[in-house]
Each structure stands twice: as C-alpha cells, then as structure tokens.
Subunit: 300 residues, 2 copies
C-alpha cells in the first residue's frame, strides 16, 4: 500500500511538463473613512488602476465601505451600515467587474433577509455574475476590545469555500481566519489555488514597539506558512491609516507556494499592488512536496 | 452564547499575573557517520555540554545513530540498524538523563517485538524513566528518492502525543511532520508547551541555489507558524554535513509563540544550542490570541 504512487507523482515521474499559467492579482490597500460613498469611490478607483495594470483578480480590504467600528464602545447604530448581498454595492462592483473583465472580491457588512449579520465577502466574476458569499468563520473578541467583532457579527456557519472564477479557483477568508490553518487547509483541499485574506488589522497606538513588531511579523509568517503547507498562493489586503486607537498596518502582500513574498505594500500609504503569479508552480511543487495527499486524515 | 468569555479571558481580565517560568532547551546539531558507536559518543558529549550550560530538555537529530540511509539505492541491510525501544541506546541515555537531570529526546530507528519498523523518538525523563515513544506519522517518499522513507518505515498509527516531563509538556514529532499543521495543532490542544522536530533535511548537492534557498526558508517559516498558530515554542534539531548526494542544512533553531527565532545554528557546523524559554509567554499570548479556544472544530 505505502509504495503505491499517488497520481501527481506518477505524472511527475512520467516527465509531463507543466505550462506556465500566469494570473495577475490586484490588491487595493486603502484607508477607510466614515463616508461610505467616498470609500466606494476610492475602491472603484483602486480596482480601475489595478485593472489598467493587468490585474485579473482584485481584492479590497475587509469591510472597506466602513470605518472599523468593532473597536471602542459598542454602538447599535453601526448595524445600520449592513446591507444585503447581492445589494447596491455588489451591483455597482458587478458592473465594474464586467467592464474591466476582472474578478472582484468585495468584503461587506452583510445583513441577511432573516436579519442576521455577518462579516462577508461577495465574489463577482468577470461577466458581472455574483458567484456567492463567504461568511467569516472565526470572529475575534479580543481584549481590550480593539476587535470586539462578536458584538456585531455572527460566526459563519457555511464553512470554508472555493469559487471557480474566470481566472483561478480562489479561497476567500477574512482577517482573523488567517491565524487558523484549518481554513487554508480545507480551501486548498477543495481546490483553491489562491487564498485571499482581506483584513483590518493594526496596532493599538499605545502598544510597545517590541510587541507591535512581534505581531506584525507573526501575521506575515502564519499566512506565508498556509501557502507553503498547501502549495498555494496567499494574498492579504489590509487597510492603512489611524482610526480611533488603532493604527492599521497595511503590509498587503502576495506570497507564493514556497512562502516567498512576491510583493509587499508599505505600512502607512494607500497603494495598489499588481502581482503576477505563475499557478503552474503549484503542481510543480506538489511533485516533490505533496502535502495535501500525504495528510493523515483519519488520525488528524 | 458568543459573548460568554472563555476561561483564559476571564483570568486575563481579572488581572491575574503570570510568573515567569523559564525552561532551558538544548539542541544537539551534529554530523552522523556510519559508525553508530561514534555517533552515540558524540551525542553523549553534546548532551553533557548542553547540560553543563543549564539545558533541561535536550533533543538529538532524527536517526542520529545512523547515516541517513533513506537516499540512494534501497538496501535491506539497513534494517539491521533498527533496535528495540527501550533497548541498548535508550538504556545508555536514560542513565545520562538521570545523571544530568535532563529530559532527553532520543530519535531511533525502531524495530518492534512484532517485527515492524518505525522512525521513532523515545522520551526519557530526568529520573531515567522511559516515558514512551512517538512514531513518525508522516513518512516521505519524495522523488527522486532523496527521502525514500516509505521503504524503511511504516507510518505511525498512534497519532500525535504529549509527554508530561519534569520540566514541561512536550510534543515530539519528526522531520516531515513539520510540514503538516495538524500535528502541531493536536499536540498543542493536548497541552504541549514545546514542540520538538528532530530532523534530517538537506539539499541535493546539484540543486539550484534559488530552489535550495526557497526550501530552506520555507522550512523555517512553516515551523515558526506552528508556534504562532498554537501559542507554543518550537524546536528543530537537524544534522549537518554531506552524506551521499545530500548536504544537510543544520539551522537548528528555537522559536517562541510569536514565531520569533530565539537562537539559530549554522548551516554547516556541529554545535549545541542552549536556549532559555519563558513558558509564561504561552498564557500571556493566549489572553489576546486564544487561537486554540476559537477554532471552529465542528466545521474544520
């Protein structure tokens, strides 16, 4: 039994060559204000800029339409910010996806018809078609209330998802999900080639430099490792700028299946990253490091 | 339900202070020859050196008693290298553990009474008591036969384990296990404070510098991430030196729960690392990043 070669190894040993398959990712790193119209306008400009530079799959930061309201005093007025998916924002961005022939990952504060609230991503395909929604599975409630998301969002109950877009199979997750290897594993096992983590993470302004540095580095290491352990690409799109007592740390990046950072944004400026990813590296790497195949599923 | 605070957060918010709890780790990075007696002698010297410098838990590299025979032509004579656990080597090292008051992780090619062969670690406590064996769960069979371990070892069937030693709860795994976040997750969930990965990993001598560099970095990133995602310390003890067509890359290291590398050995010299770890950082970090508690177990 142990000497049976799984398919990918037989292919590798047969000498089958893989063709390059380049997909260009766009990440919009932006500051978000209380003015939803201004945030949407900025996001649209970011998407158009990425598309003009060849980006095919474009991701906005978590809850890009709103300030990060999960810090500070809890306030029920924030529930008014939620909207339906599909709804006005996805309608607007679906037209843009069609016009620019891009796939757009649109993170939104979602209110369902049943009156439930989620921290979600809508995925829009190049033909403007709404492919579905991922609802954030891991909801932080971190002391001292910088990320009190459990007050505003229910935990997603639909699991980790993969969307078969025009350019690649993608696994969208959101911010706090990035600390949990389970999500990355499941999305990759379902076929995701690229994981996306729209994010709103930063430093409490009064935190020590030592701790801030440790958190910042750990955030990159853990996401890069999900790429390595699953032989996939990883993209994080974060916001920048200070809101209340949080300074969002930007550092949006794309890493490859070896965890190599292909491009990384600044910690404090708005910018749009456009990064070419060769998806054939996924299968190339799996010839030698077929981690997904060699999991001990029954015992893990 | 979502607003119920788990125990560690209630403790954190109660202002309970954690005391420092320092444990000193010793890692023996060594080259291994065909002379088992010489390898054992070198390992004993390494353990004595670590102990004299205050190390309390000491780890040897994978299969330290033997050359790394899993590369090149398959040869049944190598099965003669296997031994029982407990057996002559653990008997010798148990006396040393007692003498030096150290915990010793002793990786061995194990032959069971039933005639099965495993890639294992014996854990010896400070009183010389044999605490048990971990048998490598993930067995590589990587082309082009640099790591054809599936010919020599059966896959461990007892799962991931935690041993409650005199100084800490430890989760021993072995080499290829380090690419699988499941093992780290399970060991940490069972209470492991420190994960140990004795290793025999290196570069094929004819491999490109670019690929070698990518593998070397990925190997560190993925292990550091297991520490981050589980709020634990991680230790890797690798061999050095060239054997056949493999150049083992050393780089034994200890990282903390933020994934910070506390100490790292060279890529090409034998050396013994002794590293102080403050285990109280585990609970400190879990106040803010309680990843183990917030897993979505039913959906992951």
């Amino acid at each position: 039994m142990q000497n049976e070669q799984p398919l990918i190894k037989r292919l590798a040993r047969s000498g089958l060559a893989y063709m390059k398959k380049i997909v260009k990712i766009g990440l919009v790193q932006m500051a978000c204000s209380k003015d939803a119209d201004a945030n949407l306008k900025k996001a649209v400009a970011g998407i158009e800029d990425c598309a003009s530079r060849g980006a095919q799959i474009i991701c906005l930061p978590e809850l890009f339409l709103n300030p990060y309201f999960c810090q500070g005093p809890k306030d029920d007025h924030y529930f008014d910010l939620a909207e339906k998916i599909p709804g006005p924002t996805t309608d607007a961005l679906a037209k843009l996806a069609q016009k620019t022939k891009t796939v757009i990952l649109c993170p939104l504060f979602e209110k369902t018809a049943a009156g439930k609230f989620f921290n979600s991503i809508a995925v829009l395909n190049t033909d403007g078609k709404f492919l579905g929604t991922y609802r954030k599975m891991h909801i932080p409630s971190l002391p001292p209330d910088f990320y009190a998301e459990d007050y505003y969002f229910e935990k997603g109950e639909e699991g980790f998802k993969v969307f078969d877009t025009a350019y690649a199979k993608i696994g969208p997750m959101i911010c706090y999900d990035q600390w949990f290897p389970e999500g990355a594993r499941i999305a990759a096992a379902k076929g995701a080639q690229i994981l996306f983590y729209p994010t709103a993470i930063g430093w409490p302004v009064n935190q020590s430099q030592e701790k801030s540095s440790a958190e910042h580095e750990a955030w990159q290491i853990t996401q890069r490792s999900h790429g390595i352990d699953n032989n996939v690409f990883v993209c994080a799109a974060n916001r920048v700028g200070r809101e209340g007592d949080l300074k969002f740390w930007g550092t949006s990046f794309v890493s490859d299946p070896y965890g190599r950072v292909l491009a990384k944004a600044s910690i404090d400026h708005e910018e749009n990253l456009v990064v070419a990813c060769d998806l054939s590296l996924i299968d190339e790497m799996r010839k030698e490091w077929p981690f997904l195949e060699e999991r001990r599923i029954k015992l893990a």
